[in-house]
């Protein structure tokens, strides 16, 4: 069956008989629980979108403390959120199986950072498995659960975008029978105190046992000639690049590929056996030189049993130290080391492409959808901060509205770090007034982000009297990651109704003054923000308007927007193309022949926000027929 890597992982979770699957959405991991949620009707598994990754891991761990199997899935940042639990659970042990699937995003294509989570395995001294293809993505999940139960340790299964989001053939395995009934054994405490060092000693013993198991893992293998001139040591998606690179250059007789799937703890006998045949070693892996450091460390320890090896990799910048790898990169390294001429891309081809791009490919910034309430919100924020005149600034957060830091949101977001950091940083900024900060502080936070991480910072701000305006951008969705449910929506991953937890109730309970406004109403929203900037003390402004994509699924728009070309003054003084060149909703287009704007009816959602900006009333909102 052709499966996406994440679907293969999900299938592995099902075949392993997992009882709980919990996650917080985050690219490139979201599809795992998306798939399980869809399948959940036919499963006895509890599948949930948890409020954040730490809770997701805790929820999954509950299964693994009662004799059952739990799995949590997340992206790299999610593991940062969950790691406090992980770095206690490693010592506290388990009675059952716990697998943590973490999907990294090399190059940070859809992330706030670029980060390699494999280092957590080393830090937490936890078994780390890295599948290299779609079949392994499924099969190694089942193996991970078995390993976890045997060792009574959480096991980390690591993936990257190119595995999670690519597709390949997978042979399915059998579905499991019914599992045990959960029970908590009170004679076995999962508590590390009063002497965590003792638990730590036990962890070290478990990791040694794990290492011995990994020695015989069929997931680690060598492919290539004996005594290769270059040995590529690789893991995870690196295998794709290595195999493609070797094949493209026809170097199968000169270059060997040593695949390591169990990258912590390293299988020492296996490495010794194969590295003894090597001369030049190139370690190929996305992310940090994790495997590279581990192998070099191992070689240093066994230097008396190994030939003098020459290492190439990230440490010596043979491979780029940031960003994703590619077959081209591997080919360049091999070409250099083996003196095989190759031009992965001729210079004039490159120049030709740049020229065509420059002339014919329009600049496509990241943009909000037509009708997105965030465009209206950032327009109102931009105008309000300018009209307020005190150089106010915005501490921001993560979600679609994170694009507010760029042209999509008129560059109105000034800080963005982790989930909930907008509120946290604003809580600190709001203390600087007493030290002479005379600029008003604003924070923006999405609805899903609010539940995930903003609450502690808001409580903190209230307790310490921090002065800032907290704006919640409530579009009734966790949109950026694919519309997974959150606690405000009154539904769960499996479509069951759930009592909604309302943002305004939480804010009021924390002692905040709460106002609300519809961002589609620009003058009202601008004034609400201006008033909010002038107020003091803890205050929240909730800007509520459903995501345009969600609204489109709910039914056709009640309104449509038309443009009266006679009234449009286009690029003349008094407008200068406000709608198409300043506001820039994709539903508006410029017609150079008539010298006016026009509505792109295929894209326009009829929200009518542009009509409030048009200085001549050329843009009009009507009832849709």
């Amino acid at each position: 069956m052709l499966l996406m890597g994440n679907e293969a992982i999900a299938r592995g979770i099902v075949e392993a008989g997992a009882n709980i699957a919990a996650a917080y959405p985050g690219n490139p991991s979201s599809d795992i629980v998306d798939a399980l949620a869809k399948a959940s009707r036919d499963l006895s598994m509890h599948v949930e979108w948890s409020v954040n990754e730490k809770v997701a891991l805790e929820v999954a761990a509950a299964a693994a403390m009662t004799g059952l199997r739990g799995v949590a899935a997340m992206k790299q940042n999610g593991l940062n959120v969950a790691c406090d639990f992980l770095l206690n659970a490693n010592l506290a042990g388990l009675r059952g199986g716990l697998v943590l699937v973490v999907c990294d995003d090399p190059s940070g294509i859809s992330s706030t950072n670029e980060q390699d989570t494999r280092l957590f395995a080393r830090m937490g001294e936890l078994p780390l498995l890295e599948p290299s293809n779609f079949q392994e993505a499924k099969d190694m999940v089942v193996e991970a659960f078995d390993l976890s139960e045997r060792l009574a340790l959480p096991v980390i299964l690591h993936s990257v975008t190119r595995l999670s989001h690519a597709r390949g053939n997978v042979e399915l395995g059998p579905l499991p029978g019914p599992g045990p009934k959960p029970a908590f054994d009170r004679s076995h405490h999962f508590v590390n105190v009063p002497a965590p060092a003792n638990a730590h000693r036990r962890l070290k013993e478990k990791i040694e046992r794990c290492r011995k198991e990994f020695e015989d893992s069929p997931r680690n293998w060598y492919q290539g000639p004996g005594r290769p001139e270059v040995m590529l040591v690789t893991t995870g998606a690196g295998l794709f690049y290595c195999q493609e690179g070797v094949e493209a250059l026809g170097l199968e007789d000169r270059v060997g590929v040593l695949k390591v799937a169990t990258t912590f703890p390293l299988p020492e006998r296996f490495l010794l056996k194969h590295l003894a045949e090597a001369k030049q070693v190139v370690v190929v892996e996305d992310g940090s030189p994790f495997l590279e450091s581990g192998v070099k460390e191992f070689c240093a320890e066994r230097s008396d049993q190994l030939p003098a090896l020459k290492f190439f990799g990230k440490a010596d910048a043979s491979l780029p130290q940031v960003g994703e790898l590619s077959p081209d990169i591997i080919m360049s390294v091999l070409s250099r080391l083996l003196d095989v001429p190759i031009e992965t891309r001729p210079d004039d081809y490159d120049r030709g492409i740049q020229e065509v791009a420059r002339q014919q490919v329009p600049d496509r910034d990241l943009a909000f959808c037509a009708g997105c309430p965030h465009r209206a919100t950032y327009w109102a924020i931009k105008e309000a901060l300018a009209l307020d005149g005190r150089n106010g600034f915005v501490c921001g957060d993560i979600g679609c509205y994170g694009m507010g830091s760029g042209p999509a949101g008129f560059s109105q977001m000034d800080t963005m770090h982790a989930m909930g950091s907008g509120a946290g940083v604003a809580s600190g900024m709001g203390q600087l007034v007493s030290m002479g900060l005379d600029q008003p502080v604003v924070a923006v936070c999405g609805d899903s982000t609010f539940y995930h991480a903003a609450l502690p910072a808001l409580i903190n701000a209230r307790q310490h009297g921090s002065n800032f305006l907290f704006i919640v951008l409530d579009n009734n969705a966790t949109a950026m990651t694919g519309f997974q449910p959150h606690p405000g929506l009154g539904t769960t991953a499996t479509g069951q109704p759930a009592p909604p937890v309302a943002i305004e109730d939480l804010c009021r309970a924390m002692g905040y003054r709460v106002d609300a406004c519809d961002p589609y109403d620009l003058p009202a929203t601008t004034h609400a923000i201006l008033r909010g900037l002038e107020q003091e003390g803890p205050r929240v402004l909730i800007l509520k308007r459903t995501c345009a994509l969600v609204a489109a699924k709910q039914g056709p728009s009640a309104t449509r927007v038309t443009l009266d070309a006679e009234r449009c003054i286009g690029s003349d003084c008094g407008c200068s193309r406000m709608c198409t060149s300043v506001f820039r909703c994709p539903g508006l287009a410029w017609d150079p022949e008539s010298g006016t704007a026009r509505i792109d009816e295929a894209i326009c959602t009829g929200c009518g926000v542009c009509a409030q900006i048009c200085p001549t009333g050329a843009l009009k909102v009507e009832a849709a027929s």
Binding site: K382, L387, L530, C573, G574, S576
Partner: protein
């Protein structure tokens, strides 16, 4: 390469502290906006010669030339622009005077002009519930009355007028401070079609004497230790010898020392040369009478400048809605001296700003040509 209009206004008027908040640019274009007493550039515009640049009263211009092009030469004075006649005036009706800042002259004239259909509506500065104001379109005596009283912070009246002119046809009047009168005069003198369509609807401009305006935020900060701002019904600045600001509250008048509030003066006002609103049809201010402020506070001085202004004032006098009295001896000379004093201050402050006595930034070096220098030892 010439900077674009938007960039010019942003850098040379707003960011340099010259902006008076008249609202001309904001009334012409959504790239600018206004709120309370602030007019701000909002969104980048790339027009190279926008109407905003033609209307702004703080870009390089020649006010004396503008006066000369619109007034009869025999009336023009170098100190205070065209003066056909100076009167001491007040509204006849006591209920008008009761609501007024001083003599109720503006209220009486505005109401009379509506009654006589000289204008379809006035743009007046109405109260905003705090220390500022909002431009309001007034079509009835009651609406005029609701705007009685001085606003001590800038109100973007030119934006109010331009927004009205863009929406409606008709003949309109504006009561405006000197900087706003200057913007309106530039609009009237322009041949830019966008400005002409508004200028053609401008029938009357009543100017107000003005020494300076307060910055709203700074004023609120300066006053709040002394007063509960919510209880203030009106503010006034008596003659400078009093060195005070007066607040009318429910409990009566309260005096605040002026040096406590002068730091709150709007910075742009330091560069203003026009105390008496030279580019209006008539100008109205508070009176100075030999009887002293307790009497003078209930009267106005009114300078008639244009034919239309004369017809309005004479008509209101004949109709009995406005009381016209001869000014006391020397009143015009005193007024001229005060007006000339403001021009001197403007020259000093502009020289300090530019660092060069030949560079008065937005005014020509001979903007005050014709004024005799003050006598030695005077």
């Amino acid at each position: 390469m010439a900077a674009d209009s938007f960039d010019k206004l942003r850098a040379e008027v707003v960011e340099s502290g010259l902006c008076t908040g008249c609202g001309a640019c904001a009334g012409l274009c959504p790239h600018f906006g206004w709120y309370q007493d602030r007019v701000v550039p909002l969104h980048q515009c790339v027009s190279s010669s926008g109407a905003c640049l033609e209307a702004c009263p703080r870009v390089p211009l020649d006010p004396a030339a503008l006066v000369a092009s619109s007034a009869q030469p025999e009336f023009i004075t170098p100190e205070m622009g065209p003066v056909r006649r100076l009167w001491v005036t007040r509204a006849n009706a006591p209920e008008v005077r009761d609501r007024a800042q001083h003599g109720g002259t503006v209220s009486a004239l505005a109401t009379y002009a509506l009654d006589q259909r000289l204008v379809d509506a006035w743009v007046l500065a109405g109260p905003d519930g705090s220390v500022g104001g909002l431009p309001r379109v007034c079509r009835t005596p009651a609406e005029v009355a609701a705007c009685a009283g001085t606003r001590l912070t800038s109100v973007p009246m030119v934006a109010g007028f331009l927004e009205l002119a863009a929406r409606e046809s008709g003949r309109f009047g504006v009561v405006a401070t000197p900087c706003q009168c200057l913007a309106l005069a530039r609009i009237k003198a322009s041949d830019n079609p966008r400005l002409r369509q508004a200028a053609d609807k401008l029938a009357l401009v009543i100017g107000l004497f003005c020494g300076w305006a307060f910055d709203r935020r700074d004023l609120q900060q300066a006053l709040s230790p002394h007063l509960d701002l919510a209880a203030v019904r009106g503010l006034d600045i008596p003659p400078s010898s009093h060195q005070s600001l007066e607040a009318a509250t429910d409990q009566g008048y309260l005096s605040v020392p002026l040096d406590g509030v002068t730091p709150a003066v709007r910075s742009a006002c330091s560069y203003c040369f026009d105390m008496t609103a030279e580019l209006a049809d008539l100008s109205v201010g508070s009176a100075r009478l030999p009887q002293g402020w307790d009497e003078a506070r209930h009267w106005n001085q009114t300078v008639v400048r244009s034919q239309a202004g004369q017809e309005l004032v004479d008509g209101a006098g004949e109709a009995g809605v406005l009381i016209l009295e001869e000014p006391p001896d020397g009143a015009l000379d005193k007024l001229k001296a005060a007006a000339a004093g403001k021009k001197r201050t403007a020259r000093q402050n502009l020289t300090e700003l530019s660092g060069n006595s030949e560079d008065l930034i937005y005014l020509p070096t001979d903007f005050d040509r014709g004024i005799p220098s003050p006598g030695h030892g005077a």
